[in-house]
């Protein structure tokens, strides 16, 4: 369900553009940030809101790597393995996270806490290897650092 509060945000985004459709991607991002993912229901509502055929919205959703049709974990871990990170062990960082959580690329832990993705350059190359958990960057990673980060995320109440 698109709440009234979210609708009010849509209204303020739309005002930034002379052409309504320009608001589509910011609106999709905002919706995802509130609801976790883009359900068929949300997509239909956004299409109606912008007077677009639903198919146009699906086309956009599938084009952009950050937009998703399915829920991910509460902590969505995105490890960069592109060139600068690769050189300093990005793949090993990915493997470490994968092993620790017992999930592979694209999977979510059964308790819904963690999901894992291998991603392209995050723009943190001078602090490689790097990853993002939701929107938070973690830089200059080592195996020990990864363990600490995961542990801290697992037990937020004890921090």
């Amino acid at each position: 369900m698109i709440s009234d509060r979210l609708l009010a945000e849509f209204d303020s985004i739309v005002r930034n553009y002379p052409v309504r459709r320009s608001a589509l991607i910011p609106i999709l991002l905002t919706t995802q940030e509130h609801l976790g993912y883009l359900s068929d229901e949300s997509i239909a509502a956004i299409a109606r809101y912008l007077n677009l055929p639903a198919i146009d919205v699906y086309e956009v959703v599938t084009f952009y790597s950050m937009l998703r049709r399915h829920p991910v974990g509460k902590h969505h871990i995105q490890v960069c393995t592109n060139i600068s990170c690769l050189l300093l062990g990005g793949e090993e960082i990915f493997e470490r996270v994968s092993k620790r959580l017992g999930i592979k690329e694209g999977e979510t832990t059964s308790d819904g806490q963690f999901s894992l993705a291998e991603v392209e350059c995050l723009g943190a190359c001078c602090n490689a290897p790097a990853m993002q958990v939701n929107y938070t960057y973690y830089n200059d990673l080592t195996a020990e650092k990864v363990d600490q980060i995961l542990q801290a995320l697992q037990k937020p109440e004890e921090r």
């Binding site: 956009v60 952009y64 392209e120 350059c121 723009g123 001078c126």
Partner: protein, 426 residues
């Protein structure tokens, strides 16, 4: 320490409010422009400075601005490219994180120069914290009258809107970006028409990179001649070099255009990590041809790097040591381009996928020797035949890695394994 044009006041602290920024002379350049200069004079000063686009292509900025029609019945748009997705590049975020008002002042001066009153700042979706910094800075600038109506009593109006992307390398290409800004998938447009004539919503549009626009402030403050003299002929000013990979002190360094690559690596980035031997350097982001250790005396300006067959590109300097398997490095880059091809052009869509698959087999020792030459010819045929330069960006590294490190590729094919020790393990 060489003279700076961008990070002058932020070596030891960041300037996060209008007040702080003004205490270091901030917004004086905008005042001068709005109260004392005509748009054409600003363009002339930028032409004199030798400033060239920092997004990658190095197109002269003053000339680009002069292509925007003076008299247009349609509105004109300024679009800021902060998509920053070229692997090895993380410089625009340094400007945003350390001195966001330098960018906003540069945007205001540049928008005035091209006669635009509306600016969209397109920032990659992953840069959420950076977008929040900009959001606050924009609000602060409005509050102090540096954006909005009748700026500094000059009668000039400017609105800046932040627009977040959602993850797609191709939206860094300027027409892909414009499509994305119009709410579509980021399929680059056939050119001509160029954005200067028909860009956003079919209106005249100027697209510039964050670093380019930030540089304009010091050009106005100190003059085009001053800026030009910082660099080499036709390559004015300084540049943010993001040095990553196997160096002791990776980081983003502001250095004069034309500084030798050797000096960037050894004098600024601290030399080779663990004192391993240098094998190769990517001088300007993953899309450019690679250089060998013998080629690092090149001067880092657009023309000098082009003269030895590579490109200065985005300023992403990736330093690679002797323990690195070049087949693996190239395979990772090839996977990237296959993932990011938008799929519109057959040579790019098919070519990038084919390169990725074949290099995977080469890496695994499951390819024939003759296929190496096939890879080279496929890469050659992808170039210059597509709507946007992504196909070239995918092909150029392939050709250079195989030409310069052919023995490693042959070793993989012949021995089904690597003759390089595994890359540094953690």
């Amino acid at each position: 320490m060489p003279e700076l044009a961008l990070l002058t006041h932020v070596q030891h602290r960041n300037l996060m409010t209008v007040e702080e920024y003004r205490q270091t002379g901030g917004y004086e350049a905008l005042r001068k422009v709005l109260l004392e200069m005509k748009p054409d004079q600003v363009i002339e000063e930028v032409k004199k400075s030798g400033l060239r686009g920092r997004g990658g292509a190095g197109f002269p900025t003053g000339m680009k601005w002069s292509f925007i029609p003076k008299n247009s019945e349609k509105p004109k748009y300024m679009v800021v490219n902060s998509d920053e997705s070229e692997p090895g590049t993380c410089k625009d975020r340094v400007i945003i994180e350390k001195t966001p008002f330098l960018l906003l002042e540069g945007i205001a001066i540049s928008s005035y120069a091209v006669g635009s009153s509306t600016c969209y700042l397109y920032i990659r979706g992953e840069y959420y914290d950076q977008a929040m910094i900009l959001k606050q800075a924009i609000e602060d600038a409005y509050r102090h009258g540096f954006l909005g109506k009748n700026i500094l009593g000059s009668g000039y109006n400017l609105d800046v809107y932040l627009h977040r992307g959602a993850g797609a390398y191709i939206c860094g290409e300027e027409t892909g970006l414009l499509e994305s800004l119009e709410g579509k998938k980021g399929w680059p447009r056939l050119k001509p028409p160029f954005p200067a004539i028909s860009g956003l919503y079919g209106c005249p549009t100027c697209v510039n990179n964050v670093e380019t626009l930030a540089a304009v402030v010091s050009i106005i403050q100190n003059g085009g001649d001053w800026y030009a003299a910082l660099g080499t002929p036709k390559n004015g000013g300084t540049r943010l070099f993001c040095v990553s990979g196997h160096v002791k002190k990776p980081g983003t360094y502001e250095l004069p255009m034309g500084i030798p690559l050797r000096s960037i690596i050894y004098d600024y980035a601290g030399g080779m990590k663990d004192d391993r031997k240098l094998k190769a350097v990517i001088p300007g982001g993953s899309s450019v041809p690679i250089l060998t250790a013998d080629e690092i005396d090149v001067k880092m300006d657009f023309d000098s790097v082009a003269a030895i067959g590579s490109l200065l590109g985005s300023g992403g300097v990736v330093v690679i040591n002797e323990d690195t398997c070049m087949v693996k490095a190239l395979l990772r880059i090839a996977r990237f381009y296959a993932h990011e091809s938008c799929g519109q052009c057959t040579p790019c869509r098919e070519g990038t996928t084919w390169l990725k698959k074949t290099l995977q087999r080469v890496y695994e020792g499951d390819a024939r020797q003759a296929e190496l030459d096939q890879v080279l010819s496929i890469a050659f045929n992808m170039m210059g035949t597509t709507i946007c330069p992504l196909a070239d960006a995918a092909a150029m590294p392939v050709r250079s890695y195989i030409q310069k490190f052919r023995h490693e590729f042959e070793y993989h094919v012949q021995h089904k394994c690597c003759d390089v020790k595994p890359a540094v393990r953690i």
